[in-house]
Symmetry: D2
Subunit: 358 residues, 4 copies
């Protein structure tokens, strides 16, 4: 439920409500607005007497939250959540472009791609150090070495980094290196992992599972939020349906649905959602037109030699062209894909063009 305080309510009134709520085992999320304070109550509401709360001093009104995902719902928090990662703002008017290779394959590969992505206009660098693979015999990622290369690439290009974490025990280590954690589709309902990430407080991108409903996806976000971490982005990466021309079916509807039901930023992953580089551009532009807050794309200089997902990776020059096209579409829907302004660090890496404009 949501407790809306009166304009004249004092801190003491708010504290009394919080105390009352926490007594019965529920948690509170306090939003102090310019004019009035709102208290979100999360937990098993059955133990709370709504009318009794409504009669407490300073309370204007008490409203139920109809959705099973309390903290993730727009009822709970009507304004968009904005997440700050370094100097990149996610969830506002400006769109974010995350790009990089599927897997970190080595130091020089990553630095090469990272520079190319940055020059093409990316804001955040992606790359997998721990790879969830269907086969135990496939390449499983470089592990901590991969994380180190990512950190070096951040140093070199100025881009924050996002990388996947697959098990609770590795959350602290990955947090040491990454600016944003990624939860893959296979782990959308790995609750021990979600709880560990919730407690880490680290920004996270939560991918939708292969056949997860939007409600289940928001419930998984709720696991993270309910452990105190509000910096959650959702990522639509395609679901499974009956079509075989593409690797997945890009549920473009999910974008306006999430914007309608939730305040969390929604990022699209057209690389996985199509699975073929020929279709990635159309998917990316569609996502921008539909209202996504950003895209995450796989970029590789030699897709046919990539260790994973080469079939859906864009070459840097195609990616650069796509960034310009996405910017045009973003402006057509009154948003923008800003140039990546931060100067790249110059320690050993000669980067002349700052800011990048393509």
């Amino acid at each position: 439920m949501i407790v809306v305080m009166k304009l004249a309510a004092t801190k003491e009134h708010v504290a009394a409500i919080i105390e009352r709520v926490e007594e019965v085992g529920c948690k509170t999320h306090v939003i102090v607005g310019a004019e009035r304070t709102v208290i979100g109550v999360i937990g098993d509401g059955r133990t709370l007497d709504r009318r009794q709360i409504g009669r407490m001093i300073g309370v204007e009104k008490v409203m139920p939250i109809s959705k099973p995902y309390k903290g993730a719902s727009r009822e709970f928090k009507p304004e968009d959540t904005i997440i700050q990662v370094g100097d990149v703002t996610i969830g506002g008017k400006d769109l974010v472009v995350m790009a990089g290779p599927c897997s970190v394959e080595g130091r020089s590969q990553l630095l090469e791609v990272a520079h190319a992505c940055r020059e093409a206009g990316a804001h955040i660098l992606r790359g997998g150090a721990y790879k969830p693979r269907s086969s135990p015999y496939s390449f499983q990622g470089l592990g901590e070495d991969g994380l180190r290369y990512l950190a070096e690439a951040r140093e070199a290009t100025g881009m924050p980094i996002i990388t996947e974490v697959m098990e609770p025990a590795l959350v602290p280590l990955v947090c040491e290196y990454a600016d944003i954690l990624q939860v893959g589709a296979r782990n959308m309902q790995n609750y021990a992992l979600l709880n560990a990430i919730g407690e880490s407080g680290h920004p996270v991108l939560l991918k939708r599972s292969f056949s997860g409903t939007i409600t289940e996806w928001l419930m998984s976000a709720e696991y993270i939020l309910s452990h105190g971490n509000n910096d959650v982005m959702l990522c639509e990466r395609g679901i499974r349906a009956n079509e075989t021309e593409t690797r997945n079916t890009f549920d473009i509807n999910a974008i306006p649905v999430i914007k309608h039901l939730s305040h969390l930023p929604i990022i699209a992953d057209p690389s996985h959602a199509t699975g073929r580089w020929e279709y990635v551009g159309a998917g990316a532009k569609a996502a921008v037109a539909a209202g996504a807050d950003g895209v995450i794309l796989e970029v590789h200089p030699q897709p046919d030699q990539a260790w994973s997902d080469g079939r859906q990776s864009l070459k840097p020059e195609k990616f650069a062209k796509l960034v310009r096209q996405m910017r045009a579409v973003a402006q057509a829907v009154e948003r923008d894909v800003p140039a990546n302004r931060k100067p790249a660090s110059l320690n050993g890496h000669d980067l002349s063009v700052v800011p990048v404009s393509l």
Copy 2:
């Protein structure tokens, strides 16, 4: 297979090829280009000796068509098919906007919506006179009366009309009234209907079935094409997957896939693909950004009183705003949604603003 003729090939050489091909029961589709002629051979190619054809006089080379849909494939016809319906051109740089009510509910309802759609920027008027309904007890459409009202609305607004035909026996009647026939999702593999439409030669919009693959959809187009009708548009209207927040799952990927595999125009139907008016706008803009050649939208002045599909119908003013937004997105991807130029007929219907600009 495709027979590419030499620059110097004569009409007689072409005629000899055609004779040879038709002898074994195959059909030909001859494309006379500015420089050279190409002969498409359709039918059971196993009865033809490809090398023998290759040795005939005037033949440059013979190429197989790898796809099961021969005439619908881009291998067969690399350039986009452009369909002219009245003064509306479908499949070129300009996008087409088809709009109107789900069902024709009566004369005055239809005229009202038709004028509103035209003023808002629609090029073609949609409306169902024969309605496929899951229940035999639901409203099944006004039948020929509905067709007459559509024809009157065309007269009044200057917009060509599109309407559904559900059975072979009704194809001649519907052709008398409609400028474009529509095949609904339930009938995508109603082959008797496809054959009758193929023989009618009338422009047709072929919707994808609820779980039809893209290959099956193109094979259904092939039924129409192989009966001599080249004016086929495809329509993505959402498929079935596991999500319940929306009526269907809009397979946005289908747009670039169809553009890649086929030369036929692809139209999107965000009304059915989302099933909720709140999400129709995002779907429509996404379709334009992804490369669709047009959209078809349900518009109703009082959606909550519509006899069918009110939940997904836009009010005229929302539709007018959406046309402007789609135009902006179209221009961002180097296409356009042109103003509907043709003056509405003035016989009794007072329409002052021509051309419409909103």
Copy 3:
């Protein structure tokens, strides 16, 4: 709604109800039981005042039907529908086995398979004379010749025949030859076809569409029932999901669900539901154990030379073994697969073993 008459109600009372109901455009379905009469009212119930009917003489009570499929629901008719086709009873304690080739390929092929099926224990012969094929270039069936061969095979073996009809215009012709009409998955919502079959009064087997829900399937049955034809069997033939090891996903749940919601017989088609002969036997036995009223199976003496569906056809000896296994399972669930008792006609076809026991 359902009008339950009092024990003492007379024919005149019943007639008065019928007259009142038909006045407002609804239809009635009268079930005269041993003790009392029940009147089913089908049509747009909104035009009838339920309380008014309840006050008419002889009426015990009036109950609404909650399902959208009125005539097909068990609420409307609690006892199982039993369909008599020649001397074969479908829907009772005994299960029916329908078998034969996918396509009628010729006279001698069909006679050979028909005899083999009969000797193996089949009760009804299946075979396609009109074939719905995804490609217009594939074999489309022998048409009326195929029907004639089927009739001859019936003559020779004593088995009633079932064959598909694909368009309304052909319903009268197919009814001349076939004992049971079949509606294929692609035509489950071809309403013109369903209406024509409804009016024919001929027994029909209605296959579920590729992604049709059980409600939609029952609504399609309702189209046939509401046109006066009560002899409707449903056929589960697999739906589309995400698995590729099999051609379709056999929704075994549909069997108990249909038995729960409807009084119509339910037949399983494990050939299509699995798509591979290796798995057909397991599917058939599962269907029997789950409560199906029969199975329809593809049998071909040389599956690898079949013109269609060879991958899922059983050889006659495998089929004979399967009939014995199905009988054992049927008996385990207190039903039976009876031996096919009727002597085969002896006009020229030497059939020694009558009745067949394997």
Copy 4:
């Protein structure tokens, strides 16, 4: 690849092959048969020269494994895997029945259900101590207390226990109590969990994920097998498709497909696969007829008061009847559901009927 040794091959020959294989980083799985020894080689086979191995002393032939799941494939191990859990044998001619409540709700609830299940004929007791719930606000299980109650119920009834483990860190603890670990559908691709279970060597039941393909499922089994644990059972629990009358779509085809492709036992879960107790019996009998090696069922004395999954739980008397029906079907397909012979412990729990016969 699989290395088949000659009849005359010695232990030294076998050891030499193993040494050669392990040198290049591959693992071996040695099957010593009555007549000859077979060595399975698992790992990245590209590093091994197959012809070179073939020339080593004592080698009869070397065969590739075509499936991506090596150790799980029937090519690798043609004979069925049989798993012994206490005195219960899983994977042989006899079927296993696992039953119990969805969640362990308390000591007395569990003991009551456990006795009822045992008396009704169950061989193994199921019950969740750690519950994966879509909502973070739902009951998450009693944790270690639940495990203790399960152990006590085992003591009381003599039935081995199966319970779910959701995170790698808890594997050792759950192994202390449980006879069989369960991996739930949400965790089918939680590789860290699979690896930990692989290393534990504990028998495990691996559920298929909501939209996992059979190949992906076997690949997940491969994660466990490749870590040295061969006691893997697979569990089909329904997948997601387009039907809403049931909670999931029971992919009955998976049973014969798994038997064809793999040597691992396959267990069916009709409770989840249907989601409604009315349909559980039909699903269970179908699974037995299709060739499952056992079933796992939810049983609760008061389903409407169950803390989870009450809608799909059977009352003990219905379950007892179902066991008898499954036994009849099992015998019809030449298998059996044996009576549970082991006397229940009598320490304080008064159990008069031993062995149970119903």
